[in-house]
C-alpha cells in the first residue's frame, strides 16, 4: 500500500511517499517558489538518498503537484511505475477549527468546512485547499484524507479552552483556544505507551514539542486535556522568535507608545520575540547553547527563560492531570537539547522528576529512550516525532475502512 503525504504551503509543497507495508519512505522532497521565477524541486529517493535539484518553471500548485507525480514515475528519479500504485493522498491541514476532532476522508462538505476555517489560519488553509484541489483535478479518483494540527486537542473541555473574555466572542467568532502540533503530541503519546509497555488508556502524560514553534500538552488516557498554544500558535511557551504568554496590556501599551500598526505588533510578537528577542543573538537554540554557560549573559538568560516557562507548564499540567506517569521530549530542540532538558528538570525532585545526566547527554540526534534515574517516579523519554508517518497511517486507516 503506497501513500503520498503532502504539506502544501503558500509557495511550497513538501511531499513524502510511504510504502505502508514496512512504513518506509520511498521518496520525499520539496517544491519551492511556486509561481515565482527560480522555482525548483529538491527530490530524493528513500529517506536519505542523494538530493537531486530540478530547476523548472512551476506556475501554480497544480503544476507543482503534477511535476511531483511526473518525478515519482520518471525513469531517472522515480520510485514507482505508475501513479495507480498510489492508493491515497494524506494532506496536513493546520486549522480545522472546532469542526474536526479526527482525520477524515475528503468530501465536498469537508472542503467547505476547511474553507470556513480560513479565517483562523489565513496563511495556511488557503494553500492547503489549493493542494487538495490540484490533486483532485489531476487524479480525480485518488482518495484523499485530511489530517488536522488542531484535531487532537478537540477533547479539551470548555474550562480549558475558553478565554476569560465576553462569551459572545466564542459564540459569534469561535474565539477560543484550539492548540496545535496535535499530530506530533498524538504520535509521541502512543509511542511512549509502547515503550512503557502500558496501555495508553491508563497513562497521564505531558508531551513537550520544542521545534520552531513550541507547545506542551497534558494527555489523560490518550486524550488531550490541556495544551499551551491557543487560538493561534503564539500563546504559551517562549519560542525561537515568538513571545508565548504575555500580559495583553503590555501589547496595548507598546502599540500606543510606539504608534505601531497591527501588522508591526504582529511581527514584533511573532518574529522579533522569544529567545531571539531576549538574547538579541539568535533564534536558534543550538547557537545559544554553543559555549553554554559561558557564552554570554543574555544567551543564558534566554535559555533560562525558555526553560523556566516549560517548567512552569510542567508543574501546572501535573496539577491538571493530578499526577504524571511520563514526560516526553520531542521535535528539534526537545530531541536534541540535553541542556534545556537538564535546566527544566533541575530541582523537580519533589514532583518525582529526576533525569540521569549521562543518559540525558547521550540521547539526541534521532535517539529514543528513557533518560530518567531508576528511582524517578515520573519517567522522562526522548522520542523523535514523525508527523508525516502519522498522516500516512491515518490515511491508510481511513481508506482501509471504505
Amino acid at each position: 500500500m503506497i501513500i503520498l503525504v503532502l504539506n502544501c504551503g503558500s509557495s511550497s509543497i513538501k511531499y513524502q511517499l510511504f510504502n505502508m507495508a514496512d512504513q518506509s519512505v520511498m521518496a520525499k522532497g520539496l517544491v519551492q517558489r511556486i509561481g515565482i521565477a527560480g522555482s525548483n524541486i529538491v527530490h530524493r529517493k528513500g529517506d536519505d538518498g542523494p538530493k537531486v535539484t530540478i530547476n523548472t518553471e512551476i506556475l501554480d500548485h497544480k503544476d507543482g503537484i503534477r511535476k511531483v507525480f511526473d518525478l515519482l514515475v520518471s525513469a531517472e528519479n522515480g520510485v514507482i511505475k505508475s501513479l495507480h500504485e498510489i492508493e491515497a493522498a494524506g494532506h496536513r491541514i493546520v486549522h480545522g477549527g472546532d469542526k474536526f476532532s479526527s482525520s477524515v476522508l475528503v468530501t465536498e462538505d469537508v472542503l467547505q468546512a476547511i474553507r470556513d476555517c480560513v479565517v483562523f489560519a489565513p496563511l495556511h488553509n488557503p494553500a492547503h485547499l489549493k493542494g487538495l484541489e490540484a490533486v483532485t483535478e489531476i487524479l480525480p479518483d485518488l482518495k484523499q484524507v485530511v489530517v488536522f494540527d488542531t484535531a487532537f486537542h478537540q477533547t479539551m473541555k470548555p474550562e480549558a479552552f475558553l478565554y476569560g473574555i465576553p462569551y459572545s466572542f466564542y459564540e459569534k467568532e469561535r474565539i477560543r483556544r484550539y492548540g496545535f502540533h496535535g499530530t506530533s503530541h498524538r504520535f509521541v503519546s502512543r509511542r511512549v505507551a509502547q515503550l512503557l509497555k502500558r496501555p495508553l488508556e491508563e497513562l497521564k502524560l505531558i508531551t513537550i514539542h520544542l521545534g520552531n514553534g513550541c507547545s506542551i500538552c497534558a494527555i489523560d488516557k490518550g486524550k488531550s486535556v490541556e495544551t499551551s498554544m491557543g487560538h493561534t500558535p503564539l500563546e504559551g511557551l517562549i519560542m525561537g522568535t515568538r513571545s508565548g504568554d504575555i500580559d495583553p496590556a503590555v501589547i496595548l501599551h507598546i502599540m500606543r507608545r510606539y504608534e505601531l500598526t497591527p501588522h508591526e505588533v504582529d511581527n514584533l510578537l511573532n518574529k522579533h520575540s522569544g529567545v531571539l528577542g531576549i538574547s538579541a543573538e539568535s533564534s536558534d537554540l543550538r547557537d545559544l547553547e554553543e559555549g553554554w554557560p559561558t557564552r554570554s549573559e543574555r544567551a543564558n538568560l534566554a535559555l533560562d527563560a525558555y526553560s523556566h516557562r516549560i517548567k512552569k507548564y510542567v508543574g501546572a499540567y501535573m496539577a491538571v492531570l493530578n499526577g504524571c506517569d511520563a514526560i516526553v521530549w520531542t521535535a528539534g530542540v526537545g530531541e536534541n537539547s540535553p541542556i534545556v532538558r537538564s535546566i527544566v528538570c533541575k530541582d523537580l525532585g519533589w514532583l518525582g522528576v529526576e533525569i540521569d545526566p549521562v543518559l540525558n547527554d547521550k540521547t539526541w540526534r534521532g535517539a529514543e529512550g528513557d533518560i530518567s534515574t531508576p528511582k524517578a517516579k515520573v519517567r522522562n523519554f526522548v522520542i523523535p516525532t514523525n508527523e508525516e508517518l502519522v498522516i500516512a497511517e491515518d490515511t491508510l486507516g481511513i481508506i482501509d475502512k471504505l
Partner: protein, 308 residues
C-alpha cells in the same frame, strides 16, 4: 498564464515603493530608469526604508535579505519584454508617458498588462498610438506604497475586461483594496486632497494658526492618521504643485489654483521629506524634527532657509 515578473519604470517614491511591495509579496521585480546613478541611489533608499521597517519590528533582517534578492535594476527598456506586468511611474508628462507605452507596446507580448500610476492623465489619452490599447489600465498607488492599503483603478475606453480582472488580481496580491473609478484627472484621492491642502496652506499663510496646530486640528478632529502638511511633505510639494496646475487647467475649478505659499515653497526648494524641508524639517534619517513646523516668516526672511 506565465510566471510573474514585474517591471517598474521610474524610481520616484512610488516606483521605489512598488518595487518594495511587489518583492515583499514574493514576486521578482526589475526597476528600470535611464541612469545607473539614479538606480543606485534608489536602491540605497529602498535599503533604508527596509531598515526603518526593521527598527519598528515590521520586518526581520532575513526577510529584508530575501526581499532585496528579488529586486534587480536595469537601464534597458527591453527588460519589459519578459514581464507579466509593467508599471509606469515616471515623472508626470503626457508625451513622455505615451512615448514609453508605445515603445513597450512594440516589444511586449499582447498579454502583458500595462499599468500607469498617473492620477492626472486619463488612461485613454495615454493609450493613444498603442497597437494594443486594451492592455493599458490606470492603477494609482499612493505613497508610501507599502503602508497605504488602497489603489485607485481606472480603465480607459479600450481597456479589456480580462485586463481589468488581471489588475484586480495584482492589487489583491499586493493586499490593496481596489477603488474602481472612472477615468478623470485626479481620480478620488488627489482631487479631494488638493483643495484641502490648498486651504490649509491659506490658513497658515493668513496667520490663523500654526503649522502643527493646523495638522493636529485636522488629524484629531477628523480621525486622520496624518495632518495635511505632514502628508504633503511625504507626497512632495513640487509634485503636488504640478498636480494642482494640471487639475486647475483641466477642471477650471479655482479650488485647485495653487496657494501663494505653495508656489513660494517650491521656488525655495522646500519640496518635503525628500529635500529635508517642507512644511516641516527632517533629519538625515527622514524623521521629522520636533517643533520644526513652517512659520510664514521663514519664507520672508532673506536667507532664512538656506542657512538650515
Amino acid at each position: 498564464m506565465s510566471q510573474k515578473l514585474v517591471v517598474v519604470f521610474g524610481v520616484g517614491p512610488v516606483g521605489q515603493g512598488l518595487a518594495q511591495a511587489v518583492a515583499a509579496s514574493g514576486c521578482d521585480v526589475v526597476l528600470v530608469d535611464e541612469t545607473a546613478d539614479k538606480l543606485l541611489e534608489s536602491m540605497e533608499k529602498i535599503n533604508q526604508a527596509f531598515d526603518s521597517e526593521i527598527a519598528r519590528w515590521g520586518l526581520t533582517e532575513g526577510e529584508k535579505k530575501a526581499i532585496l534578492n528579488r529586486i534587480r535594476t536595469s537601464t534597458d527598456l527591453k527588460e519589459a519584454s519578459k514581464a507579466s506586468h509593467v508599471i509606469e511611474t515616471i515623472p508626470e508628462g503626457l508625451d513622455a508617458k505615451r512615448d514609453l507605452f508605445r515603445k513597450l507596446d512594440a516589444i511586449c507580448p499582447p498579454e502583458t498588462l500595462f499599468i500607469s500610476n498617473s492620477a492626472t492623465f486619463p488612461v485613454t489619452d495615454l493609450a493613444t498610438g498603442m497597437k494594443h490599447p486594451e492592455r493599458l489600465i490606470g492603477m494609482h498607488f499612493l505613497n508610501p506604497v507599502r503602508k497605504t492599503p488602497v489603489v485607485e483603478v481606472s480603465r480607459g475606453t479600450h481597456t479589456s475586461d480580462a485586463m481589468l480582472e488581471n489588475a484586480k488580481r495584482f492589487a489583491k496580491m499586493l493586499e490593496k483594496t481596489v477603488i474602481q473609478v472612472y477615468e478623470y484627472p485626479g481620480l478620488v484621492t488627489t482631487r479631494v486632497f488638493l483643495p484641502m491642502l490648498n486651504q490649509a496652506a491659506k490658513v497658515l499663510n493668513e496667520g490663523i494658526a500654526g503649522c502643527e496646530d493646523i495638522d493636529n486640528a485636522m488629524k484629531l478632529g477628523f480621525g486622520l492618521n496624518m495632518g495635511p502638511f505632514a502628508l504633503a511633505d511625504q507626497m512632495g510639494i513640487d509634485a503636488l504643485l504640478s498636480w494642482m496646475e494640471n487639475l486647475h487647467h483641466e477642471t477650471n475649478d479655482n479650488a485647485f489654483l495653487p496657494s501663494k505659499l505653495i508656489r513660494k515653497m517650491v521656488r525655495a526648494g522646500l519640496n518635503g521629506i525628500k529635500s529635508g524641508h517642507g512644511f516641516y524639517r527632517y533629519g538625515t534619517d527622514g524623521r521629522r524634527i520636533e517643533g520644526s513646523g513652517l512659520s510664514i516668516r521663514d519664507l520672508s526672511a532673506p536667507g532664512a532657509i538656506s542657512k538650515r
